[in-house]
Subunit: 109 residues, 2 copies
């Protein structure tokens, strides 16, 4: 990656920000909007799961289910070219928030 590294004019600038950077940032912003909307939809589902679990007296966390989710997402990440370790960290991050919500639902019953 370094032989063409400092070719002058390889990316024009708007002020001090190269055009290529602006183009990439616009794509990142589009992807982030999609991620936020998917996360909103995911929490709508887990909210329902939390209510159902509280109703049925089921515990908020389910280690067997979580293990299966992690294994599946690591595989999907690998196929998609995403670091499986990051995918696992991401799922743990989301699940921690979900369990926190479930505990709040259970406590308010």
């Amino acid at each position: 990656m370094s032989s063409t590294a400092s070719t002058p004019g390889s990316s024009r600038s708007t002020g001090s920000t190269p055009d290529d950077l602006l183009r990439l940032r616009a794509s990142i912003d589009n992807i982030d909007a999609a991620l936020i909307h998917l996360l909103a939809e995911r929490f709508k589902c887990t909210q329902q799961v939390g209510e159902l679990k509280a109703r049925e007296g089921m515990p908020p966390a389910d280690p067997t289910r979580e293990e299966a989710q992690i294994a599946r997402l690591r595989d999907l990440a690998d196929q998609a070219g995403l670091d499986p370790t990051f995918a696992e960290k991401f799922l743990n991050f989301v699940i921690a928030e979900v369990i926190h919500h479930h505990e709040a639902i259970a406590a308010s019953d």
Copy 2:
């Protein structure tokens, strides 16, 4: 939510898992697959950003850009019914990984 809480037969069971829970989990699994693929695409973009920044001698982190991203995602989250604080935590989580990648790219140049 509690008066209908223990109505028998309100959700049938497969083994010990209510059907409603299985249905919700199938939706969560679909959403997670979409999230992983979007994150893979996002890291493809940020990988290019990292290479560009290393080439141009730009610092890996950009606090002004990050501030704008956080404000925008908090707004989008609010509109989508997602906790803006969670959206901000999520973006910080992803950006931390991206900066880690950028530092690795800069160090390998």
